[in-house]
């Protein structure tokens, strides 16, 4: 796979100066451009502020990405726990002095800027767990169930803090990222079975005991949006109409009626995919899914060629980061899962996510450069 993707220059082209990963950079540039175009379309010219802001975030993210890409990844390894600790401290800080917006306390204020520590926490968790699992592989706990305890705790503590912001979906994503990394390095068939059993019974118990009526109603709405068309089912139904309205070739950029006439709520954030699908159609939607798939596949490819276990784990963690965000976000729009409120990387307006995603790709780029050192 590597030769196919990177060998376009007949092996003579050595990539970007400093060993930047060309595939990552190109895929990122592609995603970011399309995302900005889509955001502009969703704004219909009225939200130029949003688009300008997003471009600013992308620039900041790009600087962060390139900076980290030039670092030696071993620095990240050494600082793994520290970085994790700083992230955790920020999440704690949110719980103490966070800015409350719309009844959710997710933001920290830094002068003019506010940012959401739960976003970088995703990357910091990846680094922390990767470092731990690297060390674990050289100990006797490798492959044991007891070896799951520390990563479990490392995940559950920030996840619990984020959960009570409240931000259920981000805490779930933290868990999914951790599980994806463990699936590479620590889980065995046996522990997988045990975890699955625990998970399934926990979910059933939760459905019985913890679910409030309104949450059950939400599930009902998700299953039958038509019967709640004027009410709770409105958003999901209008998103579906937007997607369907796209047809094969799409309505054209800035031409979707569902988009332009504001039938899709949150079209500039979590429902950006509905706008994209309406305006770019089935062909555009498939292209987008393909690009994200290629990105995830490339990250997995880099993981399989990594110089060491830490590097592989980080690559898998970042792959999981993109995979889960995309799947959970698009899954909501396409009605596979109830509304979760997860951003679609680059498409959803918001700085913390954009910068985190680009930073993560910078880390992977650094790792990618080091894999030739063998």
């Amino acid at each position: 796979m590597r030769s196919r993707l990177r060998g376009g220059g007949g092996g003579t082209w050595r990539g970007f100066p400093g060993g930047l990963d060309a595939v990552l950079v190109l895929l990122t540039a592609l995603l970011v451009s399309v995302a900005v175009v889509n955001l502009n379309s969703a704004g219909a010219g009225d939200w130029t502020g949003l688009v300008r802001g997003q471009i600013g975030f992308v620039l900041v993210g790009a600087v962060a990405m390139f900076t980290v890409a030039f670092l030696d990844y071993r620095v990240l390894y050494r600082l793994g726990y520290t970085i994790y600790g700083v992230g955790l401290a920020l999440v704690v800080l949110v719980a103490v002095v966070g800015v409350t917006t719309n009844s959710a306390e997710r933001w920290l204020r830094l002068g003019m800027l506010t940012f959401q520590p739960s976003e970088p926490m995703k990357l910091f968790l990846i680094l922390g767990i990767a470092r731990y699992l690297q060390e674990l592989s050289e100990s006797s706990l490798a492959g044991t169930i007891r070896g799951l305890i520390i990563p479990g705790v490392m995940t559950v503590v920030p996840a619990a803090l984020i959960l009570q912001q409240p931000d259920l979906s981000t805490s779930v994503v933290l868990g999914l990222i951790a599980l994806s990394m463990l699936a590479l390095a620590q889980l065995t068939l046996r522990s997988t079975l045990i975890l699955s059993l625990l998970g399934v019974s926990g979910m059933m118990l939760g459905w019985r005991l913890l679910m409030e009526d309104y949450q059950r109603e939400r599930i009902d709405v998700w299953l039958n949006p038509e019967t709640h068309a004027e009410g709770a089912g409105y958003q999901i139904l209008q998103a579906r109409i937007a997607v369907g309205n796209g047809g094969i070739f799409g309505r054209g950029v800035g031409e979707g009626s569902q988009n332009l006439l504001n039938f899709v709520p949150y079209k500039e954030s979590d429902f950006a995919f509905a706008v994209f699908a309406e305006e770019w159609g089935f062909l555009g939607g498939c292209m987008l899914l393909l690009v994200v798939f290629v990105l995830v596949a490339w990250l997995l490819n880099l993981a399989s060629q990594a110089r060491d276990r830490f590097s592989a784990l980080v690559c898998v963690g970042v792959a999981a980061l993109f995979f889960w965000h995309t799947v959970l976000n698009v899954g909501v729009v396409l009605e596979f899962i109830p509304n979760t409120g997860l951003p679609l990387p680059f498409f959803t307006h918001g700085g913390s996510n954009v910068v985190t995603m680009m930073l993560s790709l910078g880390v992977v780029s650094s790792i990618s450069r080091a894999r030739r050192e063998r």
């Binding site: 390894y77 979590d270 997995l300 409120g341």
Partner: protein, 679 residues
């Protein structure tokens, strides 16, 4: 740590598994896209269209009303109507869960206040009504969903104020809707009628006919009677709205392209009436004024209340029809203050009552022609027989008086001088019974509506002995009183016009009509009125008619006649005065002190037709509490006749008609001894 590269080949299977899982998941997502966009795409495309397409009613221009010379009586003027949606769609966002619901949410008190603050109300009641209308809408799950007209005829300032408040757009809409305008105002008030907002009951009744809450509908007059012709057919316009149902000013090109063609409204049909507005105006000016605001003023010098009908004798086409006082129908196009409405309803002049057809009056001596005709059918009766009038007769222990002693009179003289005793004695001695009078009266159409069709006509009363006994009002003298148009005889002004038209035209009982024809806006004839005669033609022998006619001519032209002082130069008028006594017990408290309004005064009548040789027009006037018929009513009638025959009538030229007494410059000779006796 990390000092040497690791061999990760044992993990290869796991990488491959992850890749496969990723691929499968993305394929599933792509499959769903395929389902929604490729397989079901058309379905969702049409649903997306239905989302933003909105059809709205386009009111048809209402049919206009013109007089016989094409002068407008009711037309339309451009105006703006305020529409509100009591429960607009509101997007309720849950930012934390990044979910949004579209809900119907009742507008808040603050929103209602914000709108109310922009409107110039007539008074507090007006404002309260306005606010409670909105509250009603917002409390109703069903009607709260639609934009409902709640105030028409916004002023330019109100329009500008509301348009500039963008936050109102979510539930307030202003649409173009014509307002009705009546150029002649009060002058033709009871003919045109007026319009009001459709009531709830009416809406239920007419729901099928395409009426909506807030629509206006004809309430009285022609507006009501011909509503179905005037209204036209509502059209439909299409527009682009956004998610909140707010119309989009500059819709995207693709949305505009999806708009269906509008359905043009079909304009209502125009009504051409037989009224001649100029003749109507002459009649109104003869009364003094028809406008309630003027009539009700204390210092007003004219006639306070009454009615007049001028009609073609052969066809029944009504040329003028005036009821005093009248309310300017344009008033109903705006909210009416409580004070004003209270004033109208409490007024002793009853401005809501059409005094030509909705109110019954004792006909007084104008009824003597009925008594006379009742006798003439009897061959044993000799109209030339002289009866001595000695000022009163005694009957059943009561004295029945006359105003003066006329001396020896035959039938013609009795009519000319309006001798009561003559008719008392016919009733006492010559077999003039109630049933005979009833038969005559009914054959002339009295006692039932004439069939004009508008404004729910009163039918009047023709007493019979049976009905008198039934009502417990039978007394021995009732026959005598009936013979002179008192007792329980009641007629409307229009009924009396038909009666005198029948005498004038020689025996055809016409059905009065107002509408000549109805045309579509592009001039196609929809309806044309044909003069209609009642089927049961009255047995009016021509020599009997001649006898009565000679009497009526004498009333105006014989120096002894009761209306001799009112005769005209240039045209011979035949007519009959009437002075109907009102019950003394009907004097009402609280009406004293209104100058020129003495409720103890008699009702004054004058019924006439002209020219006597070949009658064309019949004119009947009633002045309520006007006193003697010759003084109060006859001049009004004479002015109308004079105006009509003096040139107003088509084809008649160079006939000068003027009141004779004006030539003399001195008071005319008085008939008899006492002018009050002009009965």
């Amino acid at each position: 740590m990390l000092s040497r590269p690791e061999d990760l080949r044992p993990l290869k299977l796991r990488f491959q598994l992850m890749l496969v899982v990723t691929m499968v998941v993305f394929l599933v997502l792509g499959g769903r896209l395929f389902q929604l966009q490729v397989l079901e795409g058309d379905q969702y495309a049409s649903r997306a269209e239905r989302n933003f397409l909105q059809s709205i009613d386009v009111e048809a221009p209402r049919g206009r009303i013109f007089d016989s010379k094409g002068r407008p009586l009711a037309v339309n003027r451009p105006a703006y109507t305020l529409m509100v949606t009591g429960r607009p769609r509101v997007l309720v966002e849950d930012e934390a869960a990044k979910s949004a619901e579209l809900r119907r949410i009742a507008v808040t008190d603050a929103q209602v206040d914000e709108l109310a603050a922009l409107i110039d109300f007539q008074d507090e009641t007006d404002e309260l009504k306005f606010v409670s209308r909105i509250e009603e809408l917002r409390d109703d799950e069903e009607s709260g969903r639609y934009a409902v007209a709640i105030r028409s005829n916004l002023s330019d300032r109100e329009y500008a104020r509301i348009k500039t408040r963008e936050q109102l757009a979510s539930w307030v809409d202003i649409r173009k809707r014509a307002r009705r305008f009546y150029p002649e105002g009060a002058l033709t008030a009871f003919i045109t009628g007026y319009m009001r907002e459709i009531s709830r009951e009416e809406l239920e009744r007419r729901g099928q006919a395409g009426y909506r809450v807030g629509d206006r509908i004809g309430k009285t007059g022609l507006e009501r009677q011909w509503e179905n012709y005037l209204r036209g057919r509502t059209g439909m316009a299409n527009r682009v709205v956004n998610a909140l149902g707010i119309p989009v000013v500059n819709p995207p090109a693709m949305a505009s392209a999806a708009l269906a063609d509008p359905v043009e409204p079909i304009p209502g049909q125009d009504i051409h009436v037989s009224i001649d507005v100029e003749l109507q105006r002459v009649a109104a000016e003869a009364f003094g004024s028809v406008l309630y605001d003027e009539v009700s003023q204390t210092e007003y010098g004219g006639r306070r209340a009454g009615g007049l009908v001028a009609m073609e004798v052969d066809t029944g086409r009504i040329l003028a029809m005036v009821s005093v006082p009248s309310i300017d129908p344009n008033e109903w196009e705006q909210p009416i203050t409580r004070a004003k409405f209270g004033d109208w309803t409490a007024s002793p002049f009853k401005p809501f009552i059409d005094k030509t057809i909705q109110e019954n009056y004792f006909p007084g001596s104008t009824y003597k022609v009925v008594s006379a005709l009742s006798m003439l059918v009897d061959s044993s009766y000799d109209p030339d027989e002289i009866i001595e009038c000695g000022r009163y007769v005694e009957y059943g222990g009561r004295k029945f008086r006359d105003t003066h002693a006329c001396g020896p009179v035959g039938l013609e003289d009795a009519i000319i001088q309006s001798c009561n005793v003559y008719f008392y004695r016919l009733a006492m001695e010559r077999g003039l019974t109630l049933s005979k009078m009833e038969a005559t009266a009914r054959s002339f159409g009295l006692g039932e509506p004439t069939g004009l069709g508008i404004n729910s006509e009163a039918s009047g009363t023709v007493p019979t002995e049976a009905s008198e006994i039934r009502q417990g009002s039978f007394q021995q003298g009732v026959r005598l009183n009936s013979a002179i148009g008192q007792g329980n005889v009641k007629v409307t002004v229009l009924q009396l016009s038909v009666l005198y038209a029948t005498i004038a035209n020689g025996g055809s009982v016409v059905t009065p009509s107002l509408v000549d024809r109805i045309e579509t806006r592009d001039g196609k004839l929809v309806f044309e009125n044909e003069p209609r005669l009642r089927e049961a033609s009255p047995p009016l022998e021509s020599f009997d008619r001649e006898r009565i006619h000679r009497g009526l001519v004498g009333v105006v032209n014989d120096p002894k006649g009761t209306a001799y002082s009112e005769r005209l130069n240039g045209v011979t008028v035949a007519g009959k005065t009437g002075t109907a006594q009102v019950g003394r017990d009907r004097r009402r408290v609280g009406e004293q002190g209104i100058v020129g309004w003495d409720t103890t005064q008699d009702h004054a009548w004058f019924a006439a037709y002209a020219p006597a040789e070949d009658p064309e027009i019949v004119v009947v006037a009633l002045v309520a509490h006007g006193g003697a018929g010759a003084d109060a009513a006859a001049p009004i009638v004479m002015r109308v006749i004079g105006d009509y025959l003096g040139g107003r009538r088509a084809g008649s030229v160079n006939r000068t008609v003027s009141p004779a007494r004006r030539d003399a410059g001195v008071p005319p000779p008085l008939p008899g001894a006492d002018r009050k006796g002009a009965r």
